[in-house]
């Protein structure tokens, strides 16, 4: 059966890169005694896929991975054992069986919701940032730097105290990294952006109609 695991990436492991996390879960499944399905061939490996890589230094309360496991295992047990095997770096938030035909996490991702906690009260208001006609940004792509308008890719951008909440486009098309938005916003406000002035958390990954991947 296919299962979808929702997990958090806590502060203590926020500096791990995507490859480190993949390797970590591969071993966590074995420590947790989860019976996995393996690919065929000379170099068999576990069948699992992550929804969307997360940048180094960013925590999350809504990461997803899909895995193929041997049928008949108890989902509650998997959740508990896997959570124990993660020793606090990641919390396993839910484990659900994926019905046949549901697209995998990677292709289901359409949006990501983030919060950015600023250290000080450096953003008194957004000063009409979202009222601009367009928000032109230089985005690095495989073929070089391209100027794009990211305004249509921002679905929410609100300031609440020192915390900015925003939902942006994510997934294989039009993925907007949180830094891209924050850098643009700061420059609009005439401020210099640096990563250490803000704690970024990915709140969740969302599919069509802004439904969290765990509820699809």
């Amino acid at each position: 059966m296919k299962i979808r695991i929702k997990f958090s990436k806590n502060d203590s492991v926020k500096f791990l890169g995507h490859l480190d996390i993949m390797r970590f879960f591969q071993r966590a499944f074995v420590r947790a005694g989860v019976k996995m399905l393996y690919s065929e061939g000379f170099n068999p490996h576990q069948k699992m896929s992550f929804a969307q890589p997360l940048g180094v230094g960013i925590t999350s309360t809504g990461e997803y991975l899909d895995a193929d496991v041997v049928d008949g295992q108890d989902l509650t047990e998997i959740k508990e054992n896997l959570d124990k095997a993660c020793q606090g770096g990641f919390d396993i938030l839910s484990v659900k069986e994926l019905p046949l035909g549901v697209p995998n996490a990677m292709s289901a991702v359409k949006y990501a919701s983030y919060s950015a906690d600023f250290n000080d009260n450096i953003l008194p208001d957004l000063n009409g940032f979202m009222a601009q006609e367009c928000i032109l940004t230089n985005k690095k792509t495989k073929s070089g730097v391209k100027e794009i308008d990211i305004k249509p890719l921002i679905y929410k951008c609100e300031l609440n105290g020192n915390t900015l909440h925003f939902i942006v486009s994510a997934g294989s098309e039009n993925n907007i990294k949180p830094d891209l938005l924050l850098e643009n916003l700061m420059s609009f406000l005439g401020l210099q952006y640096s990563r250490d002035m803000v704690k970024i958390t990915r709140r969740d990954l969302l599919g069509d109609n802004f439904i969290p991947l765990s509820d699809l």
């Binding site: 203590s12 591969q26 074995v30 420590r31 180094v56 230094g57 990563r195 704690k199």
Partner: protein
């Protein structure tokens, strides 16, 4: 619960692989620092990924943390990017688990695995804020203790360490810790503790000894200082585990988040080696040859995989083929780990006992090439170095391999061995050429998977303490390069030259390694001068600067001709003579003589040659007598 970090996010986001420094890995041990009596920082003086690949570190970590009164944490060299930040911002070096400064610890243990890491030892002390010289430290500084294979000649580092541990960590660490606790309780001074510790077998406290030199620069005397002559031993006896099966094993090794260089579970099947290759220090210092029991190994393997989730387990030893139950162990592991698809890998197989059966069991090997280490190109030279294999063994092994479907062969040799002639050098190319020809003779055209690919790698021979070649000189770098050039030319003249690739090591690093390996206390100044000039990570080619070393030698008045390029006289006092490894100097002399006569000495399994390691009362020395 959130972990604290010694470094702030700004720094961590600006350095390469920040997870090297944040700890919290699976199976890392957290304790309450207020509830332990001793805080021990265990250091591997190289980058995290290298240090975390080392089994010895995991053994000491487990050993010490098994006790409730000790908290052992880990510390590694920081990479140059972070080094510069820590220097600029005055951030003290910290341990990974608690993220507390090393300076607050009771002990800083540093494992010495290779000589080129010596400058990193000073980097660790520097960043920790601990004075380089033990004599400049106060009672508030941690006690700096060194161990590992390089501690068998501790003299080039003598100034920097409060003590060295000569032998295997499992043996007397608890006694040392108990003694320290007693002293802490009774409020004794550090000096009192060091003097008391020097009486524990295997513990060497360099500052309690004095060395005098003759006019020609050789050692005149080496002995305890007069005021300690009654209490401090004249020789230090290596400590060994007598029966491996009953000792502890790290069944819960720390699993790094960042990919380690050796990213797999390690199962140490045996210690020591029966072979006695005359260039190999490990072959002598780890005697006697001891094997863990099959039952214990099976249990360890199951537990390690369950506790780590590793997808590969590697058997570790100096020569796996000498393990009496290797086939049974492999059968068990392959069956046991079938479900979880755990790969079993097996380095250090000998060509003479090359068994296709065993090799084909080991799945991983199928994908890679076969590695043979004939070490020398002619039978004459292989007899000189006591590498008891023949050209026939090499050819038989290769033939079986070719018939089994392999077509890539890696060959390891040494250049600059004692008494080497041009013929010996050219012989290396002959071995490769003969193997190439054998491939085309053995494998019919329609079964060939492309061309045969043979890679020759040569390192330059470095005489090491506690080997029969310890008196031997080295050649100058330009001579080594001439030797490599001759071999390269010879390879190029062969019919199958297109199937043979040749790589050689850096000659300049080799002679500096020779200096550090065979030096005495006068080398300490060279190492500290190199560090002052900005040199560390010398084990990394891109950071090694030969001229910096030569400059430092000049300034310290250390003559490479004397320490490296000189044949030492058989009756001079060698800097490491005060250490007793069981194998006697008399035996080394006999072996040296045998090498000159090109006589092969039988291995320990065939016949006991009376090397002296029998004094430890264990391993093959005893089994063979029963």
């Amino acid at each position: 619960m959130d972990r604290k970090n010694a470094l702030n996010d700004k720094i961590l986001l600006s350095v390469e692989k920040p997870a090297r420094y944040t700890g919290g890995e699976i199976n890392s041990v957290m304790k309450d620092k207020d509830k332990v009596d001793i805080r021990f920082a265990m250091c591997f003086p190289d980058v995290y990924e290298i240090g975390m690949s080392h089994l010895g570190l995991q053994i000491i970590y487990t050993l010490l943390n098994n006790r409730d009164d000790i908290w052992c944490e880990r510390v590694f060299s920081v990479w140059p990017d972070l080094h510069n930040i820590m220097k600029a911002d005055n951030i003290p070096l910290f341990a990974l688990e608690s993220q507390d400064p090393i300076k607050d610890f009771d002990f800083l243990g540093i494992t010495l695995q290779y000589e080129m890491a010596y400058t990193n030892v000073l980097q660790v002390l520097d960043l920790a804020g601990i004075p380089f010289n033990a004599s400049d430290r106060t009672d508030a500084d941690p006690i700096v203790i060194g161990g590992g294979p390089c501690a068998y000649n501790p003299e080039p580092l003598a100034d920097f360490f409060d003590m060295f541990y000569i032998g295997e960590g499992e043996t007397v660490y608890y006694a040392l810790m108990d003694l320290y606790k007693e002293h802490k309780k009774s409020g004794g001074s550090k000096m009192d503790f060091l003097i008391a510790a020097s009486q524990i077998p295997g513990i060497y406290v360099p500052m309690l000894y004095e060395v005098s030199y003759k006019e020609d620069g050789t050692i005149g005397s080496f002995r305890p200082k007069a005021e300690y002559a009654d209490t401090v031993p004249e020789t230090i006896i290596k400590q060994v585990v007598s029966d491996m099966s009953f000792e502890m094993y790290p069944e819960n090794p720390v699993v790094p988040y960042v990919q380690a260089t050796q990213d797999r579970a390690v199962l140490e099947i045996q210690r020591g080696c029966i072979r006695g290759c005359r260039f190999c220090q490990a072959g002598y210092i780890y005697r006697p040859f001891r094997t863990r029991s099959l039952e214990a190994l099976k249990k360890y393997a199951e537990k390690i995989i369950a506790n780590t989730g590793y997808e590969e387990i590697s058997l570790s030893s100096l020569s796996s083929s000498d393990c009496p139950f290797l086939g049974d162990l492999l059968d068990f592991l392959i069956k046991e780990f079938h479900e979880n698809k755990v790969n079993v890998s097996l380095p250090s197989l000998r060509i003479d006992e090359f068994s296709l059966d065993i090799m084909s069991k080991v799945q991983d090997v199928k994908k890679s090439s076969l590695t043979f280490a004939p070490e020398a190109g002619t039978q004459r030279m292989r007899n000189v170095i006591n590498k008891g294999i023949t050209e026939e063994d090499i050819m038989d092994g290769s033939e079986k391999a070719f018939l089994g479907g392999w077509n890539k062969v890696k060959l390891y040799f040494m250049l600059g061995l004692p008494g080497e002639t041009e013929e010996d050098i050219k012989g290396i190319a002959d071995v490769a050429e003969n193997i190439a020809e054998l491939y085309y003779d053995t494998v019919p055209k329609e079964q060939r998977m492309g061309k045969v690919a043979i890679t020759i790698s040569t390192s330059f021979f470095i005489p090491k303490p506690f080997t029969p070649f310890q008196w031997e000189p080295m050649y100058k770098p330009e001579v080594y390069l001439e030797k490599a050039a001759l071999l390269n030319e010879t390879v190029k003249s062969k019919l199958n030259k297109k199937s043979i690739k040749y790589n050689w090591h850096d000659a300049k690093t080799s002679v500096i390694e020779g200096l550090l390996a065979k030096g005495d206390r006068r080398i300490c100044e060279v190492i500290s001068k190199v560090y002052e000039k900005g040199g560390f990570y010398d084990a990394w080619t891109e950071h090694f600067d030969y001229d910096r070393w030569l400059e430092a030698c000049d300034e310290a008045g250390v003559d490479m001709d004397f320490f490296v390029y000189r044949r030492r006289s058989l009756d001079e006092i060698l800097p490491w003579d005060f250490i007793n490894i069981g194998v006697t100097k008399k035996f080394m002399l006999k072996e040296y003589d045998n090498s000159l006569k090109e006589i092969v000495t039988p291995n320990c399994a065939e016949k006991c040659s009376g090397c002296g390691a029998g004094c430890f009362g264990g391993g093959i020395c005893i089994e063979n007598k029963n």
